[in-house]
């Protein structure tokens, strides 16, 4: 073989140096383009994120199906097209993106215009549509890694905007899916970046004992365990989510510790504590578990309601759990149609707070009941046997008040002790209000100080403070004496958005100690008890925002506070009306109270002992409707029945406190309600009416006590938003199960509203004695109260044959329907879908053809270059040269290195006399191989120069080989 002469190769260094002239313009700096991303996995995940975000956004903003289709079509097509054309910039892709952007912006302005015309501008939905469009359009431009990152960021923005609307559990699953996809995206991107940073070197693993088996196992591991690592992200996200302090908790921690530092106290860093008694977990959908007494859940299986009589008697209405004073008039039930199992007879509240004050009003109509059973006729509205008490201004005595067309003065309303909506008798599940709040709170409405043994009333509203809007924005309440926050008392600020969904009179439900309220109408009246009243009745649809201070009681500290006898004496003098007890109070109560409270400790300790005594020794049972009770309520509860709803509990607690000299009063309002997974808001219904007590503790002002067994006030439950709190809670639930303490069944829709308001029927004892709530003449059913407690059958029908207990149970066990109001899609008077079809679908078809063509071409190319999955350009050139050399009988064996291949030129073994090799071929190949090795393993910055040289050399080799081949 002839030794060829070395070819002369162009060398940059040999070129004469360019002379610099002063006028020579500065050469433009080369813009380095980011290399196109080849990872298919990365692109698939990016497409998945885009699709997920688009679907999520469209679902929650109620986009039209046409729009969803186009967005999805855009995202999928764009992802594919951008992959196919990642190495080139095409005009039509830019055109599509620009045109799509214009359409998206046009859609935004059109939606805004429509909203503006309808007078209700809400920019969020159009903005989400813009983002969705951008997300879909950006998929056409996923060329490099940075583009994919931008796409993921747009997805995050879209996701965040959607989260403003979406508050249901489904969104949590979507969020987790999103996190998982993002984890996959990051993984694929990390792999891609790592690959681009390093050359794939020769590597091997030491096989151990059983080589094949080990190799197989390791192969599996190497593929699978990356996803195990990725799965850690969503799991850790959930854990972090559960233990992440909420913004309010964090602010509380800071503010409380600032106060502590100012007072010279030790800092308390247990920020996870929730000051309002319920941990933040309580606000997490699906994790909240409200105590029974709040009506959040519970309710024993309903006793089967007996079939009613002949239709004359309304069943006794269920208690609502907000009753303070049992008693109601006896009378005929309402004559409305009642449906067994859910019917709420207007026969009267079994345990209405002020039931005894019911007058001679007519019985309310029987409520409508469940849907899935045939309804029996409700009893007729009860007729009052006797004229009502003077104080009886029960609006429910007239059916018409249910519609809210009869209004009362605030004073009347206060004295009537309306805790609930007027028509609560008929609509136990009726929604009172929706609250957007980060915490579960009690909602305080009214306060009573006077107790006559059978009912609670207000002695005097005192001097009312009028609060008007400050700067047309909100009413400032902080200056009102009754809403004064004790200096030094730890409290947290809480903002709540409340939307009233029913006509509820004049009393505004607010949490804790309100400091600011943004109520649409002026003025807001605040009485001496801190209750807020409006001048005009609060109508459904009213929306207001309240900023409250929620005290964070440190019970340990309160227990340890020294007892100041002087303070106690001055308190006794100052709060004389809060120590009032009914005449003829049974001395047993005082004796019991004193024995329970003891003589040691301060006021708080005594009140706490009484509270704990009631919680431990008395049973919460709102189905107790002792209609015949004519005894004083507290005595009856403490010594006779030993069970009752929140009313008797509260009454007993307040009476006992007063009996030992602690100023106390009764509070009516609502519990935190149910958290609606669908809306992300707390829904307070009629059944959530509640009562609790307040005791004056020097230095802490009025401290709330919920004496019911599951009451939370004043101290938060141990649960908090920390991970350990969750674990502890889980263990407690487990231990409950093992102890056969079966969890409380799901809340039952109460049969009849337990009326905190006066009996709706005429069931009223004329002499003001406690009436028998809703005693039905014909009905023998026992309706049972709201607040999720066991309810007796509310069947008050006329004994319809199908008014069976079973039917009743089935209907009552049905979970209350959650009213989720989906946001309304903005109107679209202009139908531009056809236009879009014209603009998009036609190019889409063209695109599709182009994409298919490109796919076919790529498939052919892939079939040709099948040795490597992702070959570098230099590798492709090398393979091409290897193919070319095969024409001159220089074959590359699988184990051959480039040097080995070169050695075959001069190898005698491979010498074939029939093949003549061009003398320039070997030096060309040698140079090519040098460049190839430098490109594969070197790391200098001359890659581009090498690439061009290699291309040139490979072309030369290609032509040389063919020329010789043909010559032969």
């Amino acid at each position: 073989m002839k030794m060829p002469s070395l070819p002369t190769l162009p060398s940059l260094s040999k070129e004469p140096k360019p002379t610099k002239s002063p006028n020579t313009p500065k050469p433009k700096q080369e813009v380095k383009f980011e290399p196109a991303e080849d990872s298919i996995g990365l692109r698939i995940v990016a497409c998945g994120i885009a699709v997920l975000c688009i679907i999520t956004a469209c679902i929650y903003v109620n986009s039209t199906s046409m729009l969803i289709f186009f967005y999805l079509w855009g995202a999928l097509t764009g992802s594919y097209v951008s992959y196919q054309f990642r190495h080139q910039k095409t005009f039509w892709l830019t055109f599509i993106t620009t045109a799509g952007l214009l359409i998206v912006l046009g859609n935004f302005f059109e939606e805004m215009f429509v909203q503006f015309n309808t007078g209700k501008v809400q920019a969020l939905v159009p903005f989400i549509h813009v983002l969705t469009g951008l997300q879909a359009l950006h998929t056409f431009d996923l060329r490099a890694k940075s583009d994919i990152n931008v796409s993921a960021l747009i997805g995050l923005g879209l996701f965040a905007c959607t989260a403003v609307i979406a508050r249901d559990v489904l969104f949590a699953y979507i969020t987790l899916a999103y996190i998982t996809l993002v984890a996959s995206l990051l993984y694929y991107e990390a792999v891609s970046r790592t690959r681009s940073a390093g050359a794939v070197g020769m590597s091997s693993e030491r096989a151990e004992i059983n080589e094949l088996r080990e190799a197989a196992v390791k192969k599996k591991v190497s593929v699978g365990n990356a996803f195990i690592s990725l799965a850690m992200l969503p799991l850790l996200s959930i854990l972090v989510f559960l233990s992440l302090p909420r913004v309010e908790s964090l602010f509380d921690l800071v503010l409380n510790n600032i106060r502590r530092a100012q007072n010279g106290e030790t800092l308390n860093l247990t920020w996870v504590k929730s000051p309002n008694g319920i941990g933040v977990l309580g606000t997490v959908p699906g994790l909240s578990s409200l105590p029974k007494s709040m009506g959040g859940q519970g309710g024993e299986p309903e006793r089967g309601g007996k079939s009613g009589g002949n239709g004359t008697g309304g069943g006794r209405a269920g208690t609502a759990g907000t009753d303070l004073v049992s008693g109601s008039g006896t009378g005929t039930g309402g004559d409305g149609t009642a449906i067994p199992g859910a019917g709420a007879s207007g026969g009267g509240a079994g345990e209405s707070i002020n039931g005894g004050a019911a007058g001679d009003g007519k019985g309310a109509k029987a409520g409508k009941g469940g849907k899935n059973v045939k309804g029996g006729k409700g009893g007729k509205g009860g007729q009052s046997n006797k004229p009502g008490d003077v104080s009886n201004t029960n609006p429910a005595t007239k059916p018409s008040v249910n519609k809210g067309d009869e209004e009362k003065s605030p004073e009347e309303e206060d004295k009537s002790m309306v805790f609930r909506n007027k028509d609560s008798v008929e609509h136990e599940n009726e929604l009172i209000m929706r609250v957007m709040s980060s915490r579960d709170t009690y909602f305080r409405r009214v306060c009573f100080d006077k107790y006559d043994g059978h009912s609670w009333t207000i002695s005097s509203l005192g001097k009312e403070s009028k609060c008007s809007k400050h700067k047309n924005a909100y009413q400032e309440l902080a200056g009102v004496p009754s809403l004064f926050v004790e200096p030094g008392m730890h409290s947290a600020q809480l903002t709540q958005e409340i939307t009233i969904e029913a006509n509820i009179g004049h009393l505004l439900p607010v949490a804790a100690i309100p400091q600011q309220i943004a109520y649409p109408e002026d003025p807001i009246l605040v009485d001496q008890f801190g209750a807020l009243r409006t001048k005009n009745p609060i109508k459904a649809g009213t929306h207001y925002r309240v900023v409250s201070q929620v005290p964070d009681y440190d019970v340990d500290e309160m227990r340890k506070a020294p007892f100041d006898s002087k303070d106690a004496q001055s308190t006794t003098g100052e709060f004389q009306n809060y120590l009032q007890l009914p005449a003829g109070l049974n001395p047993e109560i005082t004796k019991l109270a004193k024995s329970v409270a003891g003589s040691e400790g301060n006021s708080f300790a005594k009140a706490e002992r009484i509270c704990n005594f009631l919680r431990r020794n008395y049973k919460y049972s709102s189905d107790l409707t002792d209609a015949d009770n004519k005894e004083e309520i507290a005595y009856h509860f403490l010594f006779r029945t030993k069970e009752g709803a929140c009313g008797p509990f509260t009454t007993a607690f307040v009476v006992m406190c007063r009996a030992v000299g602690l100023p106390a009063r009764s509070i009516g309002g609502f519990g935190p309600g149910d958290f609606n997974d669908g809306t992300g808001m707390h829904e307070i219904k009629n059944m959530h009416g509640h009562a609790w007590g307040e005791v004056y503790i020097p230095g802490y002002d009025w401290v709330p006590f919920d004496a019911t067994p599951t009451g939370l006030l004043p101290k938060p439950t141990p649960e908090d938003n920390s991970f350990m709190g969750t674990v502890k809670k889980g263990f407690e639930q487990l231990s409950d199960r093992f102890n056969n303490q079966t969890p409380t069944p799901p809340p039952l829709p109460p049969q009849q509203a337990s009326l905190p308001q006066p009996p709706t029927g005429s069931e009223k004892s004329a002499d003001g004695q406690p009436g028998q709530g809703g005693k039905s003449q014909g009905g023998s059913t026992t309706a049972r109260g709201a607040d999720g407690k066991p309810a007796k059958s509310g069947a008050t029908g006329n004994g319809a044959a199908d008014n069976t207990p079973g039917a009743t149970r089935s209907s009552e066990n049905k979970k209350p329907e959650t009213k989720t109001e989906a946001p309304k899609a903005p109107e679209k008077p202009v139908d531009w879908h056809e236009l879009i079809l014209l603009i998009i679908v036609v190019p889409a078809v063209m695109l599709l053809f182009q994409a298919i063509r490109a796919a076919v071409m790529q498939a052919r190319a892939a079939r040709k270059v099948k040795s490597l999955e992702k070959p570098k350009p230099s590798t492709l050139l090398y393979l091409k040269v290897v193919d070319d050399l095969a024409r001159v009988k220089i074959y590359r064996l699988p184990t051959d290195t480039p040097q080995d291949l070169l050695a075959r030129f001069s190898s005698d073994e491979d010498y074939d006399p029939e093949v003549s090799i061009h003398p320039d071929l070997e030096p060309l190949c040698k140079h090519f191989m040098e460049l190839y090795i430098a490109d594969r393993f070197g790391c200098d910055d001359a890659a581009e120069m090498r690439a061009s040289q290699m291309k040139k050399l490979s072309d030369q080799i290609h032509s040389l080989v063919r020329v010789k081949h043909h010559d032969n």
């Binding site: 969104f171 990051l186 690959r195 390093g198 070197g201 693993e205 365990n225 195990i228 972090v240």
Partner: protein, 475 residues
């Protein structure tokens, strides 16, 4: 301070004439680097890229937004971002902490050859379940092989997809240039699995104070076998009518063929005395071998010559290396003379001589020297030690010098080199150069050429002009 340093550097006598082209661009991570030493021989560094800061910025934004909207799912999104940051920071750290490395490499190589390094990666002992849950994947491994005049590694990071109990990687360098390469350490990088942050761990092979004891590769200049036909030209280039016969002591006789006898010279081995002839003529005669008949030579390499570019200098060094080998092959012991002198005190030595091992004169020493030499810029010649031209007055002095540009076109760059034989009187030219800096622009050889044309001392004669190393073969 900066100006001072610049001034010092501009006057530094051993400043390299050509800016060393980087062997490899440092694998760039545009990131904030936080490094610390976790053990005497290992360092750990965290590289925080822009994306981490973006993610960290997103967390409070989403968090505050969650508080404003009272939507729990914002907290979930924020928790996701927090978790990603935590995992993104912790898992790569786990990866690099769980792996130890070792490396083996050859001691020497030749310019233009690739070197294969074997890097062994070993995980700490773990159970299979543990390895399943916490795999070590997608590692970047880089041997930090740095040339003595370079700043960055000549090796790209190598990708290791999965590290089981033990894995090894072969890293092939690109064709190396002449020089000495030190293996500073092995670096492993990981951003698995989320790619939010890079962690690196550097396994230093030796501490900083023991720099010389680091594993190194000496890459000698390229060398070709020279036939030696040019040697006859050396004879005619000398002043002696006898030529350079038997000019060298047969210290390394490779030829066993005896050509004749000659008179004993100081330094001849007594074993070579031909006693019969000595007795016959009455004076000591020693055997003269065939190889001794060839002319001996020393080689001069002037680092301060007017080298036009690095390729020209590399060509010259390769020729010198080949000539040195030829000299030793022929049985002589040619001296390699370098201007400026590299035999002075340590403080006068250029940077590339700092790690020069102490070797006796010979091929090994010249090889090491030629592996290190760099063309130097013009400096104050008086500051350097005068170059010793050796003791032998009989051996010719060969030099490889850049071909002078004799045309008027000053833009023409001539990359060829001259093989010239020069007398040992060129020291005077060197002194001249020291006196007149302008004239000393071309210190030795240009001056020599001028002198050769008639004005002044004759400093030698060009034997041939060489363009490529391969041409030397038939020289």
């Amino acid at each position: 301070m900066q100006t001072l340093l610049k001034g010092f550097w501009s006057k530094y006598q051993f400043r390299s004439k050509f800016v060393a082209t980087p062997e490899g661009e440092e694998w760039g991570l545009k990131a904030l680097r936080i490094g610390f030493r976790d053990s005497p021989n290992t360092k750990i560094a965290l590289y925080l890229e822009q994306r981490v800061f973006i993610a960290a910025l997103l967390v409070p934004l989403i968090y505050v937004f969650a508080g404003e909207t009272t939507n729990q799912w914002f907290y979930l999104i924020a928790a996701g971002v927090i978790s990603a940051i935590v995992l993104g920071l912790m898992m790569p750290l786990w990866q690099v902490l769980d792996v130890t490395t070792q490396c083996s490499l050859p001691n020497n190589s030749m310019a233009g050859d690739s070197v294969l390094l074997k890097i062994t990666l070993e995980r700490r002992k773990h159970t299979k379940l543990f390895a399943l849950l916490f795999p070590v994947k997608w590692l970047l491994v880089r041997a930090n092989l740095v040339a003595n005049n370079g700043k960055s590694s000549v090796l790209k990071p190598m990708l290791v997809e999965h590290v089981g109990h033990e894995s090894w990687v072969y890293a092939a360098t690109s064709p190396l240039r002449r020089g000495v390469y030190h293996l500073h350490g092995i670096e492993i990088y990981s951003c698995f699995p989320l790619g939010l942050a890079w962690w690196s761990r550097t396994f230093e092979l030796k501490s900083e104070t023991e720099e010389d004891s680091r594993p190194s590769i000496v890459v000698y200049p390229r060398m070709v076998q020279i036939e030696g036909n040019f040697l006859y030209k050396i004879r005619s280039a000398t002043d002696s009518p006898m030529g350079l016969v038997a000019s060298r002591k047969p210290t390394n006789v490779v030829s066993s063929s005896v050509r004749g006898v000659r008179e004993f010279m100081h330094g001849d081995s007594p074993r070579l005395v031909h006693w019969a002839s000595s007795a016959r003529v009455g004076r000591l005669l020693v055997r003269e071998f065939e190889a001794e008949g060839l002319p001996g030579y020393d080689i001069l390499l002037n680092l301060r010559a007017n080298w036009v570019n690095r390729e020209q200098f590399e060509l010259a060094v390769s020729i010198v290396h080949s000539l040195m080998n030829l000299g030793f092959k022929l049985g002589g012991a040619p001296d390699l003379l370098v201007v400026p002198s590299l035999d002075g005190e340590n403080k006068y030595l250029p940077y590339f001589m700092k790690d020069m091992p102490a070797l006796p004169p010979g091929l090994a020493r010249s090889g090491h020297l030629l592996a290190r030499v760099e063309p130097l810029k013009q400096g104050k010649a008086s500051a350097t030690q005068p170059t010793s031209l050796g003791e032998s007055a009989h051996a010719a002095l060969l030099t490889i010098r850049p071909t002078a540009n004799e045309t008027a076109d000053s833009n023409l760059i001539i990359e060829t080199v001259d093989l010239a034989v020069i007398p040992r009187t060129w020291e005077a030219a060197l002194a001249q150069e020291a006196q007149s800096s302008k004239e000393a622009h071309m210190p030795v050889h240009e001056g020599g050429i001028v002198n050769r044309r008639g004005s002044g001392k004759s400093t030698g004669r060009v034997i041939t002009v060489i363009e490529r190393l391969e041409e030397v073969v038939r020289l």
